[in-house]
């Protein structure tokens, strides 16, 4: 079953197409890397899928239901690139933020999730008092504690130190492979994403490539689009397929 299905999606801002005619699907249990240059419409596409921005045209389905009637938001965990307007004086503690919107609140579950993100000692601290990296880890914990079936991360590792970044990627792999969680990860880290994601969607206002990493790395068309060097950078850590380039 497709967890996400997008057909002919177009989003306009002030009359200009930000993304146009995007069609793709993400199957249950897939790990998709969504890459593309700055301003290519990656975050906009995710916001369309989540209903945050209304699309001008096209059809979106989540878990087989049209977006307009979809109600099972507890199945989805989302980590935005940057909180749109985090007020430094917001009086929410880390535990309040992480448990936001949870129907059942379990103290042990909370502590385990915070410990996994190495912020167990920050539970009672206000979110605004934390460094950006710590805030990002708190937001990751918020996405994970809901045990969603679909996790969408928008540039999740930009503020993380290399160690926490590796822990994060390992965590996404274990969630995907051991628990079957579907993952969509937007990243500029195209050299690393190949280690984890099985599928790649390259967006630059429209879809440039959509398929498996193996297909991407073997594609002479893509070598023509990106140049063999860039294709090699994206592929060199993925199961050896790209190493032959």
């Amino acid at each position: 079953m497709s967890v996400i299905r997008v057909e002919d999606l177009t989003f306009c801002y002030n009359g200009i197409d930000v993304i146009s005619d995007v069609t793709f699907a993400v199957d249950e249990g897939a790990y998709l890397g969504l890459v593309g240059p700055n301003g290519s419409g990656k975050s906009t596409l995710i916001k369309n899928i989540l209903g945050i921005l209304p699309a001008a045209r096209g059809r979106i389905e989540l878990f087989g239901e049209p977006l307009g009637v979809f109600r099972r938001w507890d199945k989805i965990g989302y980590l935005p690139q940057r909180l749109s307007a985090l007020n430094a004086h917001f009086p929410g503690t880390v535990e309040e933020i992480v448990q936001m919107g949870l129907r059942r609140r379990d103290a042990r579950d909370l502590q385990n999730t915070l410990d996994k993100m190495a912020i167990g000692h920050l539970a009672k601290r206000l979110i605004g008092e934390l460094s950006y990296g710590e805030q990002q880890r708190a937001m990751l914990a918020r996405a994970l504690i809901r045990r969603p079936e679909l996790l969408i991360f928008d540039e999740p590792t930009t503020a993380l130190d290399p160690e926490t970044r590796d822990v994060f990627y390992a965590l996404t792999r274990s969630l995907n492979q051991e628990e079957g969680t579907t993952i969509v990860l937007i990243t500029h880290d195209s050299g690393v994403i190949g280690q984890y994601a099985q599928y790649l969607l390259y967006l630059d206002k429209k879809i440039i490539f959509s398929g498996t990493f193996r297909d991407f790395c073997a594609s002479r068309d893509m070598a023509g689009v990106f140049g063999p060097e860039s294709q090699h950078i994206i592929c060199h850590q993925h199961d050896g397929t790209g190493s032959r380039l």
Binding site: G51, H89, G92
Partner: protein, 275 residues
């Protein structure tokens, strides 16, 4: 005149009770507004209240019910601010400015056209909690119960929308419904707060208790309780001191609110300095 004697006057009892209810409502809503960067909405709605009172007086509503009758027009103004803001083409401060100036301008023109009202329109500028009537007290109680019920029932949604609207949307929170509810309730609170502090000082009742509570740097729930505590304390002290010293109650309430904010700020600075 001692405190026991003051408390025996029925108009003082009504003023204290209505004041406490309106202050609690304003403080609860004010916290969400301050954190959403809508601090000045109180000012904007107070100005439209001026215009709405002029309309209500012009159509001949009894002065006893002016406050209650002005509510629908102020609600519409509040929703207009929300609509302008959510179009993303006008910033919140500019939207408040548009609706606010329309309210004042309409009020002045209507006052001029009518050739004067039976009651002094300009008396609403400074309010007088000691003149609260039975109807206004009942409305204050009703609004308090509604706001409390809304905050308790929609606490998670209000928290999420206040923290980050887009994140709340991704959680399935009906952000539009929550925003409309917040703006409508704020309109009612602004009209009632006008009775306590006057049009000129409505925003003080919405902003100052929340700001004082935010200085405490405690959790969201504790901040809400603290904001209500500061607001209620300021109303009680303000009314009693105003009555005892024959000073305007609205201004005294606002001065106590500012005093609490200043005191919390100083204590916080001192505790940082000692560490």
């Amino acid at each position: 005149m001692d405190l026991i004697e003051i408390l025996q006057y029925s108009f003082v009892q009504r003023a204290l009770l209505a004041g406490v209810l309106i202050a609690a409502v304003s403080a609860l809503l004010g916290l969400f507004l301050v954190l959403r960067r809508f601090s000045l909405i109180g000012d904007g709605l107070a100005h439209t209240t001026f215009g709405s009172v002029a309309v209500v007086l012009l159509v001949g509503v009894s002065p006893l019910y002016v406050t209650v009758a002005a509510v629908p027009l102020v609600m519409l103004s509040s929703l207009a601010i929300y609509k302008l803001t959510s179009s993303r083409k006008i910033n919140a401060d500019a939207a408040i400015g548009i609706v606010s100036s329309l309210g004042i301008a309409a009020g002045v023109v209507l006052a001029s056209l009518s050739g004067g009202f039976n009651v002094d329109l300009f008396s609403y500028l400074f309010g007088n909690i000691l003149t609260v009537n039975q109807a206004e007290l009942l409305v204050s109680l009703l609004v308090f119960v509604i706001v409390l019920a809304v905050v308790i029932y929609f606490y998670d949604d209000l928290f999420a929308v206040t923290f980050d609207q887009e994140l709340a949307q991704s959680m399935g929170v009906k952000t539009r419904r929550i925003n409309v509810m917040l703006f409508v309730l704020t309109a009612v609170a602004a009209v009632l707060a006008m009775k306590v502090a006057g049009i000129m000082l409505v925003s003080a009742l919405l902003i100052l208790p929340a700001l004082a509570a935010l200085q405490l740097s405690v959790s969201f729930r504790k901040t809400m309780v603290a904001a209500v505590g500061f607001a209620v304390g300021a109303v009680l002290c303000g009314i009693l001191f105003a009555f005892a010293l024959n000073l305007p109650a609205g201004a005294m309430i606002v001065l106590f609110n500012i005093g609490f904010l200043f005191a919390v700020f100083v204590v916080k600075k001192l505790s940082h300095w000692r560490r």
